[in-house]
């Protein structure tokens, strides 16, 4: 059933025709292509791989990338709205698109040579190649600067050694954007599937983001040609990618929140207890009102951040603000929604438990909730509380 999305403050009036059309297109796509199959994929713990081609056909890979390289040439607001609608389906599907767009195509476009861009971007846009982004390591999560994966200069290229963990799409990927230390400084490399010494086993046993592949990346003396090095030094390389992905996430999670809110509203109006719909009890109304209020505030934050991104004025701290807040209200909404649905809330028939479980990953990845608190705390006080 198509869902009506809450727009309590008529915020649609803030968007342009094209932006609304992008949203509508992805909304229709999610209704007809994602929602009917996602629960089954989630239960089985697989990413529905046939969606990759369909997402590419819609132009959802390389949304902000120039048409010359196969992108859609759209703005960040369009990108955000697309992520929102995908995540209304499932955070796993949105994660797939986030990685391809912000963590793979963005760094190649930004830091790759013209040759590398022409070689990879059109393929990535058409889903002929899938990418992944390797930053996190078993012993370095919130503190990626401590990474031990390293590269050594050899004749004609580099020798890569180390391991990454928790890498979305790792096993599926044809191309990995890998961050490693070269003479103690972080830099980026493109590691291609099939390169000798490179393996990417899938991680199993997740209770969250089940419709997404998460993997380890293992590098054992992998030889990387000179041309596959990205032209960027320092942590600002991976962080610039994360800023874009986090921006997409803060829009995306509003989709999950809208989904659980709509489901709660429908359910509470039709579920009769003590002779009346549970929506008629004050406690339930308070929960619904809380969700709608927080969703509306998140929508405003997202819209404004989109405009700032499009003007090139958004700061990484503003992005942290939005990621922290919007994921937090989405996960709270999902938990409340799970509660409103009673026993039905734990069933796959309703999307609420799936969203609630997914959002646990979203709260942790791309900077945990608390790490974003510290980023903001540092920004407003000038005192770092990380160490």
């Amino acid at each position: 059933m198509p869902i009506s999305a809450p727009d309590y403050y008529f915020l649609d009036e803030l968007y342009t025709e094209e932006e609304l059309l992008v949203r509508q297109t992805v909304r229709d796509f999610t209704d007809s292509e994602v929602l009917p199959i996602i629960e089954d994929a989630y239960q089985k713990g697989i990413f529905p791989m046939h969606l990759a081609q369909k997402l590419a056909d819609l132009g959802l890979f390389g949304i902000t990338i120039d048409e010359k390289y196969g992108g859609a040439g759209a703005n960040y607001t369009c990108y955000g709205l697309a992520m929102q609608e995908l995540e209304r389906g499932d955070s796993g599907v949105r994660s797939f698109a986030s990685v391809q767009n912000s963590l793979v195509m963005f760094p190649i476009n930004q830091y790759g040579s013209e040759e590398i861009k022409m070689k990879w971007l059109p393929k990535l846009a058409r889903a002929e190649a899938i990418g992944c982004f390797g930053l996190t390591e078993p012993d370095f999560g919130s503190n990626p600067g401590g990474m031990v994966t390293n590269a050594k200069k050899i004749d004609g290229g580099y020798l890569l050694n180390g391991a990454k963990m928790w890498i979305t799409n790792g096993t599926l990927a044809d191309l990995a954007v890998v961050w490693a230390k070269l003479d103690g400084v972080v830099t980026g490399f493109l590691v291609e599937k099939g390169m000798k010494g490179f393996t990417a086993p899938e991680m199993h046993g997740k209770h969250s983001l089940r419709a997404s592949v998460t993997s380890e990346l293992i590098f054992d003396d992998v030889e990387i040609p000179d041309g596959n090095r990205l032209n960027i030094n320092g942590l600002k390389g991976p962080l610039s990618c994360l800023t874009r992905a986090r921006y997409g996430i803060q829009y995306g999670v509003i989709g999950a929140a809208m989904s659980v809110y709509e489901s709660s509203l429908d359910y509470s109006k039709s579920r009769i207890q003590f002779g009346k719909p549970i929506a008629g009890f004050q406690i339930v109304q308070e929960k619904l009102v809380w969700m709608l209020t927080e969703i509306t505030k998140a929508q405003l934050v997202a819209w404004r951040l989109g405009r700032l991104m499009d003007e090139g004025r958004a700061t990484p701290q503003q992005v942290s603000f939005a990621k922290r807040n919007n994921v937090d209200i989405a996960i709270q909404a999902a938990r409340i929604s799970r509660d409103i649905h009673g026993a039905n809330g734990i069933l796959g028939e309703y999307p609420v438990m799936r969203h609630a479980a997914n959002l646990e990953s979203v709260r942790t990845y791309e900077g945990t909730h608390d790490i974003h608190t510290l980023i903001l705390g540092n920004d407003i006080t000038g005192i770092s509380a990380f160490e």
Binding site: D12, L21, Q24, T25, D28, L58, I63, A72, A74
Partner: protein, 248 residues
Amino acid sequence: MNILVCVSRVPDTTTRILVGPDGKTADKTGVKFVLNPFDEFALEEGLRLREKNGGSVTAVTVAGEVAKDILRTSLAMGADKVAIIKTENEFDSYFTAQNLAEFASNRAFDIILLGKQSIDYDSLQIPAYLGELLGIPSIGVVSKLQIEGNNVSAERDIEGGKEIVSAQLPCIISAQKGLNEPRYPKLPDIMKAKSKPIEEVAAIDCQPRTTILEMSIPSKKRAGVILDGSDGSLDKLVTLLHEEAKVI
């Protein structure tokens, strides 16, 4: 093939419609509008005919300025040209048909496609009106279409079955669900649609033949309560009739 597709802008099926304070018009506050779903089938069919036979697809709407958004949607889906026949007044199906006929009459279209109905006012009159005004065949509620040369063969949904009808081009086809699976506009095409021109045509003056006197929302059906035949439920019945229905 010179193809015309007539499109309209209607409230999204998921929005809640209220009647305005005048009791005659819909209250548009907060209502989302979309390209009429039946027109999407018509447009898709037009695009497929062009892909097969070459030519061009023009999408046209009779509406106010606000309806330019559905023309952009039409461009993004693949229409070559779009036009708006502009009027800011309330109008009826006759007015729409007269204006579409005027637009079509001097442009030599081989085929005119449109949805079998607009899901807002559901008048279902335009395809027939247009056929009459242009003096060409009009085949309604078509769920399968084949065109070879000038020969048109159309499968129509009729009560409890199908009917196959033939006609010659030029003709009018109104689209039923099932005719095809409309494509999604692609993001790059949505971006390109932004810079394509929208032709503006002033509506011709013609008196509407009907006026809306009143509009109302159907009263809510109350959910029934089924009681079993026990003695206990007899007491409950009396209580319900007394306290809920207030008839005794």
